[in-house]
């Protein structure tokens, strides 16, 4: 099985690499452009639709420091594709090198169960869950800013902080009464 391994390659000097995985391939391009714009020290964004990544690029691909799964809550397929891609990640990634990014969380037409299941998934994997707004430039900039913050820690560019440490602070939690939520 072609698992993506976190520590099998050497890190580069002053570089941090982020892998954006999105089934629809729309938000990831905007996000990648903004991230590259915001941070001038070299960082490479790698965009993919789903894992596993093609074998041909195995040699030339840099070491991935952070894997971000972009899930559009308006589509069930988005969630399912992210779930199946999770299987191709080495467990080493789940110690602070994986993040979930969710869009359209405020949308009324989205069934609330989907957000609940994403939260449960993120909580079971001890990963942070970010909500982003992908239609405006401010939303994209904010999301890029937050991702960069996590990326810098995950790549080891922030002294005294590691990905594992950060993830214990930022990981998603699901309150126990989330199944009985009602809005009366």
């Amino acid at each position: 099985m072609s698992l993506l391994k976190p520590f099998s390659k050497l890190p580069g000097l002053n570089t941090a690499n982020i892998l954006l995985v999105e089934n629809e391939e729309q938000f990831q391009q905007k996000l990648a452009d903004t991230v590259v714009l915001q941070e001038k020290t070299v960082n490479v964004n790698v965009l993919a639709r789903s894992l596993p990544l093609p074998m041909e690029n195995e040699e030339s691909r840099p070491r991935i420091d952070l894997v971000v799964f972009i899930i559009h809550l308006t589509s069930e397929l988005s969630f399912q594709s992210a779930e199946t891609s999770l299987k191709y990640l080495d467990p080493g990634y789940f110690q602070g090198k994986v993040c979930f990014l969710v869009t359209n969380a405020r949308n009324v037409s989205v069934p609330p169960e989907r957000l609940v299941s994403v939260r449960k998934l993120a909580a079971s994997l001890h990963c942070p869950l970010l909500c982003a707004e992908d239609q405006t430039t401010e939303g994209v900039t904010t999301a890029a800013h937050r991702l960069l913050a996590i990326l810098k820690v995950a790549a080891g560019l922030v002294p005294m902080a590691t990905g594992l440490y950060l993830s214990t602070l930022t990981r998603c939690t699901v309150p126990s009464d989330i199944d009985q939520q009602n809005f009366e």
Binding site: D33, V36, A48
Partner: protein
């Protein structure tokens, strides 16, 4: 001018949007220059209509002039109402050499033979299309101008586009067209939509088509968008393949605007989890309808973004390959 003519003009004025009014009246050319100048186009439309009515009365214009105005308006804006495509079959030897005057005479003669009270207007548009307006009456009443039928035909092609024909008059129109164009029969092309240009482009294959190639890399002369060296796309080949297959099935660039695709299923029900419905002898009748403001664009996006699996199923690609949007699917095939 009698009442029905007045009503026709009033209805027509309500239909024509104010921005186009001046250009269409200019094209009509039945009002003298002074009359046209005397019309104040900044007034509300009902005032303008009254004024126009008065002018027409003065000039003694009759029904046939008003119908000409309507025809000019429809030719300028053909994308309203529901157009249906028909195909002529089995050309006779002199079919390719039919030219305009011959067609006109034949059509008029045939139709007036079949139904005596009918009003026909034939006009040739600049893009080689013949427009025919038919108002139907029957043996006792005069032609009813408020519900005309429009027919568009390009000479030397076997395609005819019709809108506004009732089932009563359809066989008469068919017969007249078939005789006038020297073919032996006409069949329904199963293509309909609101947009005449779209239907015509689809049937006559006038949209930008993409043909399968063995070397799908883009031409070197095209300037590629400068790609940020920091951003790498892992599955770019898959994306390109999907886009190529989508364009092969549906075409490139702007696509003809179709609104619906209807699949009528007459196949047997096949689902092992449902015992009551499977295994019956009669087919399970169902209708699947795809609707959109621009159906082909949506389908192409579905395929290129991966929502529909590739290779494109022939059920979808036959919309463009066969030029129809109404299919009956039986167990043996389409």
């Amino acid at each position: 001018m009698d009442d029905s003519t007045k009503r026709l003009l009033q209805r027509l004025m309500r239909r024509i949007p104010s921005q186009m009014l001046q250009t269409i009246l200019d094209k009509w050319a039945h009002l003298s220059r002074e009359d046209l100048h005397s019309l104040d186009f900044t007034q509300p439309k009902w005032v303008l209509t009254e004024h126009l009515l008065a002018l027409c009365e003065e000039n003694g214009l009759r029904v046939k002039h008003i119908t000409e105005l309507e025809m000019i308006y429809i030719i300028e804006n053909p994308n309203q109402g529901m157009w249906h495509g028909f195909q002529l079959l089995d050309a006779e030897e002199d079919a390719p050499s039919i030219e305009l005057t011959q067609f006109k005479e034949q059509f008029k003669a045939n139709l007036t033979e079949l139904i005596s009270h009918v009003s026909i207007k034939i006009k040739k548009h600049t893009d080689e299309a013949i427009w025919i307006r038919v108002a139907w009456g029957d043996n006792f009443t005069k032609p009813y101008h408020l519900k005309p039928t429009y027919v568009v035909h390009h000479l030397q092609t076997p395609y005819v586009f019709v809108t506004g024909v009732t089932s009563k008059h359809k066989p008469l129109l068919n017969q007249a067209l078939v005789l006038a164009t020297r073919y032996s029969s006409m069949k329904d092309a199963h293509l309909s939509g609101r947009n005449l240009t779209a239907i015509r482009d689809l049937l006559m294959r006038q949209y930008q088509q993409v043909f399968p190639t063995k070397h799908p890399k883009p031409l070197q002369e095209k300037n590629p968008v400068p790609r940020n060296p920091n951003i790498e796309k892992e599955q770019a080949e898959n994306t390109e393949n999907r886009l190529q297959m989508a364009c092969e099935a549906f075409g490139d660039g702007t696509l003809p605007q179709l609104q619906k695709a209807v699949y009528k299923l007459e196949t047997k029900f096949r689902d092992n989890s449902n015992k009551t419905l499977t295994g019956r002898e009669e087919p399970f009748r169902g209708v699947v309808e795809f609707a959109s403001t621009n159906l082909l664009e949506s389908l192409r996006h579905c395929v290129s973004s991966g929502m529909a699996s590739t290779p494109v199923t022939p059920l979808l690609s036959s919309i463009t390959q066969k030029g129809r949007n109404y299919f009956v699917i039986t167990d043996k095939g389409v």
